[in-house]
């Protein structure tokens, strides 16, 4: 504790200088780094018999909670931050090194120094103490207002007392009048009352907080009684459904919430935007009718997983109008394509014809003009055919969409601003040959429209081509190489084309991507599939995204300056950080799945593998 205090004094001096003069604390931080104890004494477990306490902290929560959350092991994670690989990776990023030279970084260091000064311990230790071994929280509705109850199991009674003392010190030191808090005694417990909205006290090593004096009394009484109590059913259910080792579990009684406060649990069942309805219609419906929503966060090494589950009760399945989301086919494998230089690949079970037929129940009247326009535009593209009757019925599910970085191999003048190539891939049904012809005609029509616009602008038009690749016929347009007219700069990114591979129809913005997809779809041994039960799946490719971010650096920076109001330096830092983040990402995916009787929304982000940090690699920073 004395070493912490001594360190605090040094930091206090440095902090005052930094705050007053805006100086960098780097030299001070480096000294502090070298003098840092491995773990502050306050966080070390103490010997001696602890006060009797409840076995499971979550049993302190009331049974009538609408929302419960449980965080386990976060304290240890926080304490490990200064020595962890995540810190090393962050500090090795070029964008972080650049950030270290900016005034906001100095302000960040000054802020951290202030927190440590006030908290009397290093910030990681303070955070670790606040998050404790476990933290539970619930929100219930009482007297028409949400009421919070929370508890943190800290390392020992001294840690809990220290945190309470911290609250008292902050109240006393505040210059606000009236003060933002006061001290009180409830049933023999000393509590800090913050803005008459939060009562905070400690029982043994458990720090308790509640949104009212009455709730705090209840909480403290349960904590004092100790022993074994039942966990609220809502949380028990969340624990049972959660993956092993979940860092965070939470559950929401959405049925009760919808009954008590309908506006707070409301989802648009009829959307104004057709594509919004197509993408999220089933999710909105299931969320609206869900009785309980459960969530879990798992941190597994360098992988973060988030899972939100909406139990789909068998008694109220989706109405017939939702057949376009093809939940009935969930058991079938869902293919996915992964071309080289993958930026994004996605697949969705969507029946376009069914969606069109039922869109009246999935979309509001405001969407009708958009449907009318699609009917008109696509009808024109397909040579006067009816979109609803002739085209959409030919498209089965799933629908794949992919974006890939372009290589521009063999292109003499790559564009200054490089767009990704994009392609739609559909499984077709019905007369494949006939639809193939319709698709070719549509491509030719589309190119004709582009070329009419090119003529007005006196720029190079697309030239039609009809070629074969691996025995597959491709029809498309590309810019000529021997035309003296200038090319519209953005159009150098495109060579729109289409092809038909077995049962798959592909419409691509570039030849390069189309050929890659033909290669992949033609080779059965290269087939990839999503996890079982997937309804929709989206995956990002970090490496290619990082390369594209570098290639389009100037355009991204200019966009941030002109459209987002950033300074040049801020825009450059933002762009570099995004590129670094992409480079550090091995994979990221978002998926909806039907499994274990529930509708799951899953997110996963895995960092790319790195070599372990060495002491020499640690640079600047708190």
């Amino acid at each position: 504790m004395a070493r912490s205090l001594a360190r605090s004094i040094v930091i206090r001096l440095g902090g005052a200088v930094a705050v007053a003069g805006g100086l960098s604390l780097l030299p001070l931080a480096a000294w502090a780094e070298a003098a840092w104890p491995a773990r502050a004494a306050v966080a070390a477990p103490q010997a001696g018999a602890p006060r009797p306490e409840v076995a499971d902290l979550a049993s302190l929560l009331p049974d009538d909670a609408l929302l419960v959350a449980e965080l386990r092991g976060a304290g240890a994670l926080a304490r490990a931050l200064p020595t962890g690989t995540l810190r090393d990776r962050l500090f090795a990023l070029p964008s972080w090194k650049r950030f270290q030279k900016t005034p906001p970084h100095a302000q960040l260091l000054a802020g951290i120094a202030f927190v440590e000064l006030v908290g009397g311990m290093p910030v990681a230790e303070l955070l670790g103490a606040l998050l404790g071994d476990s933290l539970v929280l619930s929100v219930a509705m009482g007297d028409g207002a949400p009421q919070l109850v929370a508890a943190v199991r800290t390392a020992d009674a001294e840690a809990a007392a220290h945190l309470l003392q911290l609250a008292r010190s902050l109240i006393a030191a505040s210059k606000e009048e009236p003060k933002p808090g006061r001290l009180d005694t409830l049933d023999g417990h000393e509590v800090a009352v913050l803005r008459e909205q939060l009562w905070v006290g400690a029982v043994g090593r458990d720090l308790l907080a509640a949104g009212s004096a009455a709730k705090f009394r209840e909480l403290a009484a349960r904590a004092v009684a100790g022993g074994a109590r039942a966990v609220p059913p809502l949380l028990a259910g969340a624990r049972a459904a959660a993956p092993q080792g979940a860092l965070l579990n939470l559950a929401l009684d959405s049925k009760r919430l919808a009954a008590i406060a309908p506006d707070s649990w409301k989802f648009p069942l009829e959307q104004d935007e057709p594509f919004g309805a197509l993408l999220t219609g089933d999710l909105m419906r299931l969320a609206a009718q869900a009785e309980v929503v459960r969530g879990a966060v798992v941190l597994d090494g360098a992988t973060l997983r988030v899972d939100v589950a909406l139990p789909a009760p068998s008694s109220s399945p989706l109405p017939e109008a939702y057949r376009c989301f093809a939940h009935a086919n969930a058991a079938q494998p869902l293919p996915i394509v992964r071309p080289p230089e993958l930026l994004l690949t996605s697949v969705m079970r969507r029946d376009w014809a069914a969606f069109w037929a039922d869109h009246g129940e999935l979309c509001s009247d405001a969407a009708e003009p958009a449907f009318a326009k699609m009917k008109s535009d696509f009808g024109l593209l397909f040579g006067g055919k009816s979109l609803a009757d002739d085209v959409l019925p030919m498209l089965g599910e799933p629908m794949l969409f992919v974006l890939a970085r372009q290589g521009f191999a063999g292109v003499a003048e790559p564009p200054q601003v490089r767009f990704p190539a994009g392609a739609f891939v559909y499984r077709t049904r019905g007369d494949a040959a006939k639809f193939g012809r319709d698709l070719e005609n549509a491509v030719q029509m589309g190119i004709a429209f582009f070329n009419a616009d090119s003529a007005q602008k006196q720029v190079m038009p697309f030239v039609l081509f009809l070629e074969e690749h691996r025995g597959v016929r491709i029809v498309g347009g590309r810019l000529p190489v021997d035309d003296s007219r200038p090319a519209d700069p953005y159009r150098r990114n495109f060579s729109p084309c289409a092809a038909y591979v077995g049962e798959w129809a592909i419409a691509s913005s570039t030849e390069e991507l189309l050929k890659q997809l033909i290669d992949e779809l033609s080779a059965p041994d290269r087939a990839s599939f999503t996890p079982a039960g997937a309804l929709a799946y989206l995956e990002l490719g970090g490496a290619a995204l990082a390369r594209l971010a570098v290639e389009d650096r100037e355009a991204l920076i200019t966009n941030a300056v002109v459209n987002d109001g950033k300074s040049r330096d801020e825009a450059e830092l933002q762009q570099e950080f995004l590129a670094d983040l992409a480079r550090e990402t091995e994979r990221m995916h978002l998926a909806t799945r039907l499994r274990d009787g529930a509708f799951h929304v899953e997110f996963e982000w895995a960092l790319a593998p790195r070599a372990p940090a060495t002491p020499a690699s640690r640079e600047g920073g708190p």
Partner: protein, 444 residues
């Protein structure tokens, strides 16, 4: 050298203090903060004018300028407006941008018809590059500019069917003004410009379409080509007066009197229609510092917004600011017609004043759409917690160079001292908002 634009001798004719420096920096630039005005006073009039005439725009403005061509490829108006506005806000050479803005309104061309943002950007770069030089060279370059050729139908001007649009506007709007030429001059000039077309995004002289027979324009026989028409028009005595009037309206007063026009036209002619040389004489002249012309212009929307952004040192979403100036009546790259913007009292209407009011509110209170977030407490400094008079004085100095009428000042002070103003940063913002809504805030 004649008496035209007789020099202002500091001391004899008057001081070069804060008021004079502020006046000069408002007119030749986009206004300046008090500390910049102090530096100008310390440097002296001559040095300040030379600095204004120099072309060192600084790194940030240059970077924005370099990105313009890239942004233009997107063919969208708002981002292109944003780039130019950003350059105006960031530049250390504001006169260069003001001149480009002047010529953009003089040789008015709109993206609405040109439909190629890249060409509009090239035209702006032309105004920047040549706008401070000899007017004749600028006019000739504009006559060959692809955007202008599309705008005034040059590309459809052929010997079999001459199109008079450009020829007419060259004489009426760009060089001489009404009454200085006849219909015959327009027809003959149009024939001179036949074959002045655009091909592959560049000027192309289409010999096949050109009428090579000799023509008579403005009393000169034997003219063959459009370039000769430009030379003749620029050499006409009326041109110096016509363009000088534009310069006066841009830099001196919305309604300059005949004496000022005559004086400036004479100087312009003496300088061979060299804009920079003439502006140097103008900014150093007794005419310029004449008290009649102080705060005698209504700030154009772009000028007004850029000035406030510079004075308050706030970042903003420049593309959104471009849209806002359009709502105030001045959309960059999209003037309403070939006459450009009328300026002066035409800037003031119920619609445009509402738009200026919205911008003033966005600046005062912060606005997500415009991205503005002024640190009023920092700008107000020690005046932040002081009485109303001190606060108003500080804000008036910062935002309008102290240009408040006594009655307006008294009302602002009364408000600042009232409970309704609130406290802290809110009080400063509210006072600033009211100040910017006062009529005096529109005057430069």
């Amino acid at each position: 050298m004649s008496d035209a634009l007789a020099p202002y001798v500091v001391g004899r004719d008057g001081p070069f203090g804060r008021a004079e420096a502020a006046h000069l920096l408002r007119r030749a630039g986009f206004g300046a903060r008090p500390e910049e005005q102090e530096r100008a006073v310390a440097a002296g009039l001559a040095a300040t004018v030379e600095k204004l005439l120099a072309d060192d725009e600084g790194k940030e403005a240059a970077q924005l300028g370099a990105s313009g061509a890239l942004v233009a490829e997107g063919d969208a108006l708002a981002p292109l407006q944003g780039v130019w506005l950003g350059r105006m806000v960031a530049t250390r050479a504001p006169l260069r941008e003001k001149l480009a803005l002047l010529w953009h309104g003089h040789f008015a061309t709109s993206l609405a018809k040109v439909q190629r943002a890249t060409w509009m950007w090239w035209q702006y770069e032309l105004f920047r590059a040549r706008g401070a030089g000899r007017f004749g060279e600028l006019a000739l370059a504009v006559a060959r500019d692809p955007a202008m050729l599309v705008w005034l139908d040059g590309s459809s001007n052929e010997k079999t069917a001459p199109n008079e649009n450009f020829a007419r506007e060259l004489l009426e709007l760009f060089t001489l003004g009404r009454g200085e030429y006849g219909e015959r001059d327009v027809q003959e000039a149009a024939r001179c410009f036949t074959g002045w077309h655009v091909k592959e995004q560049r000027f192309w002289f289409n010999e096949r379409a050109h009428d090579a027979k000799p023509k008579r324009v403005l009393g000169r026989d034997g003219l063959q080509d459009g370039g000769e028409v430009v030379d003749v028009a620029v050499a006409h005595p009326a041109c110096a007066r016509f363009v000088a009037t534009k310069l006066l309206k841009a830099f001196v007063a919305d309604a300059p009197d005949e004496a000022a026009i005559a004086e400036t036209a004479a100087a312009f002619a003496e300088e061979g229609l060299d804009v920079h040389a003439t502006l140097r004489r103008l900014f150093l002249s007794r005419l310029f510092f004449d008290r009649r012309w102080r705060r005698a212009r209504i700030a154009a929307p772009v000028e007004w917004c850029v000035s406030l952004l510079r004075r308050t040192a706030t970042r903003s979403k420049l593309a959104a600011v471009g849209t806002a100036t359009g709502e105030m009546g001045q959309a960059l790259f999209a003037p309403p017609d070939v006459k450009g913007w009328d300026g002066g009292a035409a800037w003031v209407s119920s619609r445009t004043l509402l738009a200026r009011g919205r911008f003033a509110a966005a600046l005062a209170y912060g606005d997500g759409a415009l991205g503005t977030a002024v640190d009023w407490a920092m700008l107000a400094g020690t005046a932040a917690d002081r009485d109303g008079a001190t606060l108003v004085a500080r804000l008036a100095e910062l935002l309008v160079d102290d240009g408040l009428e006594p009655a307006t000042r008294a009302r602002l002070v009364a408000f600042a001292d009232s409970e309704g103003a609130g406290g802290g940063a809110t009080r400063i913002a509210r006072v600033a908002h009211l100040l910017l809504s006062a009529p005096e805030a529109l005057l430069v």
